[in-house]
């Protein structure tokens, strides 16, 4: 059993495992090369649902023949009963907009504690479809909305209505019927705070598990709705969707800049997530025994990842080239002597010298996949109390040394270089949406969000050096009285010094910063696949492709939906 004490012992001291260095792992582009793994939140949630055999059934079906109306699922989990309430409304194609600033959606949903009666349902109906313009109470803990995939939904309905299955090639291009455009939790719009979710509803006590559950349920509803409409369209010719094709449908997701500040503003939590992943990798590299069964599994996963990547369609040239590179490198590995691996440690060292970042990180996910017994119990350690505490007694000289050691990456950035501070991150007055501005062309830099950690460290270091020269015997607390403007960054530096990972090593103020790396890092932790950058500012992806369906719950489960492949037609 893994406890906090065993984790601490594995991270530092004489019994520590050989973890990858923060300079390697926290590089922005590498973070933007991560893939889903068995420690991703969707995988963890599905394991829980399947192992605990949650009972999920429709408690209200009030849909017309076109699939519009109200639908409520009742969820009986291990510790409580919950309701997932869906409002399905007509939306014309010209009103359909995935941006945060949209005001209407095809589906709007709420995850609610307990069962809902007609009075409460009416209250939800008055507010949930309005999303940001509505208010809910603290029985609700996730709000979301989704838009139809214009290309796929009508096609799938027509196929089923005419007694045919959807063409696999077509759904390989777009593996979903709906795209979620926002999934809100953590107390937004009057909902229950995370603190309440964590303490009162143990079924959802892990980070983002309620939000991930909502996406799982939207996917299942989308499949139900498509069949429902097709059946009413032509009851005589209708055929239900083949269950293997059904499993291959996921739920689409559009993620924009809203997710990016989270990674910078929650370094303690991000440290915890990354530490668990790196600890899993270190266990595999050190303890992962290789026999014929493991070797065969590795070969099978290599083949699967190659095919999955080949089946990933994106119009983005940069991502296309990366995918081609991954396929090329994994294929080379497949046919080379390295396939007969003597140790995972040597394979990882080889990949760091010879493979692209996306291939290296895919190999990390593959290795984690091979050893559930070494990896899965780390899923219990993704939560962490987020205190950024000042160490008041630390001598200023020590503080200076900490910066020189842990933030060398920041000190190495030349902030006097043209373009090094050209980007600023801010909140727009339009729904307080996070946006990126160019300081040379746009107003608003004075209102920027404090996301330029590297630059803040540089300024802190320069002032600290002058202070240390005059007051070498002072403590950090004394320095903070003299320099209160630096309180935030000093507290962060000291807190991160107590962590293995945490701060993203990149200049987020640079003219050429690519926020999509931040988005991908967080989405990989969620467990999405099929990354499809639509610009440097937003990414489309697919969730839950290959995951069990509602009707699979209670049956056998092999937890093997990593990098799903298109079914054979």
């Amino acid at each position: 059993m893994t406890t906090s004490a065993t984790i601490r012992a594995a991270l530092r001291g004489s019994n520590a495992l050989p973890l990858r260095s923060p300079d390697l792992v926290m590089n922005l582009e590498r973070l933007g090369s991560m893939h889903q793994s068995r420690l991703s939140f969707m995988r963890i949630l599905v394991r829980r649902i399947m192992r605990e055999r949650w009972q999920i059934s429709a408690s209200l079906v009030d849909l017309d023949h076109e699939g519009y109306g109200t639908f409520v699922y009742r969820i009986k989990a291990s510790h409580g009963v919950f309701s997932f309430v869906i409002f399905s409304n007509y939306l014309s194609s010209d009103e359909r907009n995935d941006r945060v600033i949209a005001t209407k959606w095809d589906l709007t949903m709420a995850l609610v504690e307990g069962e809902v009666d007609s009075v409460y349902l009416e209250r939800l109906r008055q507010n949930v479809p309005k999303q940001e313009a509505g208010r809910v109470d603290s029985r609700v803990f996730v709000l979301s909305r989704a838009n139809r995939s214009a290309r796929n939904f009508d096609y799938v309905v027509d196929q089923l209505a005419s007694g045919k299955q959807p063409d696999i090639e077509k759904i390989t291009d777009i593996g979903y019927l709906y795209r979620t455009t926002a999934v809100y939790g953590s107390g937004k719009l009057g909902m229950a705070d995370w603190e309440k979710v964590k303490h009162n509803w143990p079924d959802f006590e892990r980070p983002f598990s309620a939000e991930m559950f909502v996406c799982f349920m939207i996917r299942n509803f989308s499949l139900f709705q498509a069949e429902h409409i097709a059946q009413h369209k032509s009851a005589t010719t209708f055929t239900p969707m083949d269950v293997n094709i059904k499993r291959y449908f996921g739920i689409g997701n559009s993620t924009g800049l809203g997710m990016a500040p989270y990674l910078v503003n929650h370094p303690v939590l991000i440290n915890q997530w990354i530490t668990m992943r790196e600890l899993g990798l270190a266990r595999v590299r050190t303890l992962g025994y290789i026999d014929h069964r493991v070797q065969r599994h590795f070969e099978e996963l290599l083949s699967r990842c190659i095919q999955h990547t080949q089946e990933t369609k994106t119009e983005d040239e940069w991502q296309t080239q990366n995918n081609l590179q991954v396929v090329k490198e994994l294929s080379a590995l497949q046919s080379s002597e390295h396939q007969q691996v003597s140790s995972w440690d040597s394979l990882m060292s080889w990949s760091e010298a010879h493979c692209s970042l996306q291939t290296q990180e895919l190999l990390v996910s593959i290795l984690l996949e091979l050893y559930p017994e070494l990896v899965d119990d780390l899923e219990d350690h993704h939560c962490e109390e987020e205190f950024l505490d000042l160490d008041p007694v630390m001598p200023v000289q020590t503080l200076k040394e900490v910066i020189e050691q842990s933030y060398r990456w920041a000190l190495d950035i030349d902030f006097t270089k043209e373009g090094a501070k050209e980007t600023f991150w801010y909140r727009s007055e339009d729904k307080m949406e996070p946006r990126l501005g160019n300081a040379e062309k746009e107003q608003g830099k004075s209102k920027q969000m404090a996301l330029g950690v590297g630059y803040a460290v540089r300024k802190c270091y320069d002032q600290l050096c002058a202070y240390v020269a005059e007051n070498p015997e002072h403590t950090t607390a004394r320095f903070m009285v003299a320099a209160p403007k630096l309180r935030g960054i000093v507290r962060r530096i000291q807190s991160m010094n107590r962590c293995m990972y945490g701060d993203i090593q990149g200049n987020l103020l640079d003219r050429n910063v690519l926020p999509m790396h931040l988005l991908r890092a967080k989405l990989a932790f969620f467990g999405v696949s099929k990354f499809d950058p639509r610009s440097k500012l937003w990414v489309r992806n697919t969730m839950y492709q290959g995951a069990p369906l509602l009707e699979d719950i209670g049956g056998t489960f092999n937890d093997d939906w990593f990098m799903p492949l298109a079914p054979k037609q």
């Binding site: 941006r99 945060v100 600033i101 109470d137 603290s138 107390g187 937004k188 009057g190 909902m191 229950a192 705070d193 995370w194 603190e195 309440k196 303490h199 009162n200 993620t255 924009g256 800049l257 809203g258 205190f387 950024l388 505490d389 000042l390 008041p392 007694v393 801010y426 909140r427 727009s428 007055e429 339009d430 307080m432 949406e433 996070p434 946006r435 501005g437 746009e442 107003q443 608003g444 209102k447 404090a450 803040a456 403590t475 950090t476 607390a477 004394r478 903070m480 009285v481 003299a482 209160p484 403007k485 630096l486 309180r487 935030g488 960054i489 000093v490 507290r491 610009s535 500012l537 937003w538």
Partner: protein, 247 residues
């Protein structure tokens, strides 16, 4: 109206950032308000008292240490709100206590001192015991004390109306005693002249928190609008150019 704790915290951060609080200070300030309210200690009422003045603090000098030795220091906060200066004073007490076992810090010219409770709580959580004592002038003088034991998560708090007369100088002062060796507790004496004294135990503070976590927070629409109106100062106007930077 009813809001979540997270909504209050986010709105307060925008409000304090728009009031030119520094990075680090605006998180502290929003946490101080939220902590008091969440634990049933009238954080929003304290904020209401502070709100008319929060923008003028940026024109005041930064706190200065006017006396210091190994076990004590005197800080002049130059009329600042505790929201943007008291955490640093508690940190100094914390550092001195770690070095010498026990330390005393006196802060002069500081407003809204009840907000110190969040900073005390942070010390307790980190194994340091702290006591704070201060007086306030309303229609009459009130006195206040709060304390937390080492490794505790919740402090106690006491308040009483008094018939004390003061010269005014000590009305904006605050005394902090901090120890890494001694567990400090405090309550106001039931002395002559004290009226309407009340004491909230650490246990009661914890129970208040449970209520807030389960139910969220009630706030008047007027105060909520004020917080958001001030916070709107950090939002950037929408334009064609700015929409190109949206994800």
């Amino acid at each position: 109206m009813h809001i979540s704790m997270n909504e209050l915290k986010s709105a307060l951060q925008r409000c304090f950032q728009a009031s030119e609080y520094f990075v680090g200070n605006y998180e502290d300030a929003s946490n101080m308000v939220l902590w008091l309210e969440k634990h049933g200690l009238d954080g929003l009422q304290e904020l209401l008292n502070a709100l008319p003045y929060i923008k003028i603090d940026s024109d005041k000098p930064l706190s200065t240490v006017i006396y210091e030795d190994k076990t004590s220091a005197v800080i002049n906060s130059h009329g600042r709100s505790a929201l943007n200066c008291i955490a640093a004073a508690v940190d100094l007490a914390h550092a001195k206590a770690l070095e010498t076992g026990i330390a005393t810090i006196t802060v002069h010219n500081c407003h809204n001192r009840k907000f110190i409770l969040k900073a005390l709580t942070d010390c307790g959580r980190r194994g340091i015991s702290v006591v704070a004592y201060w007086k306030n002038q309303g229609s009459s003088v009130t006195e206040h004390t709060a304390a937390i034991k080492a490794n505790a998560r919740y402090p106690s708090y006491s308040q009483a109306l008094t018939n004390l007369h003061t010269d005014g100088d000590d009305l904006q002062s605050l005394t902090i005693v901090c120890s890494s060796r001694v567990d400090l507790t405090s309550s106001l004496q039931n002395s002559y002249g004290n009226r309407k004294a009340y004491h909230i135990s650490a246990r009661q503070v914890e129970e208040n928190k449970t209520q807030s976590v389960n139910q969220g927070i009630d706030i008047t629409e007027a105060l909520w609008e004020d917080i958001n109106r001030i916070g709107a100062g950090i939002l950037v106007e929408n334009s064609l150019l700015s929409s190109l930077g949206a994800g």
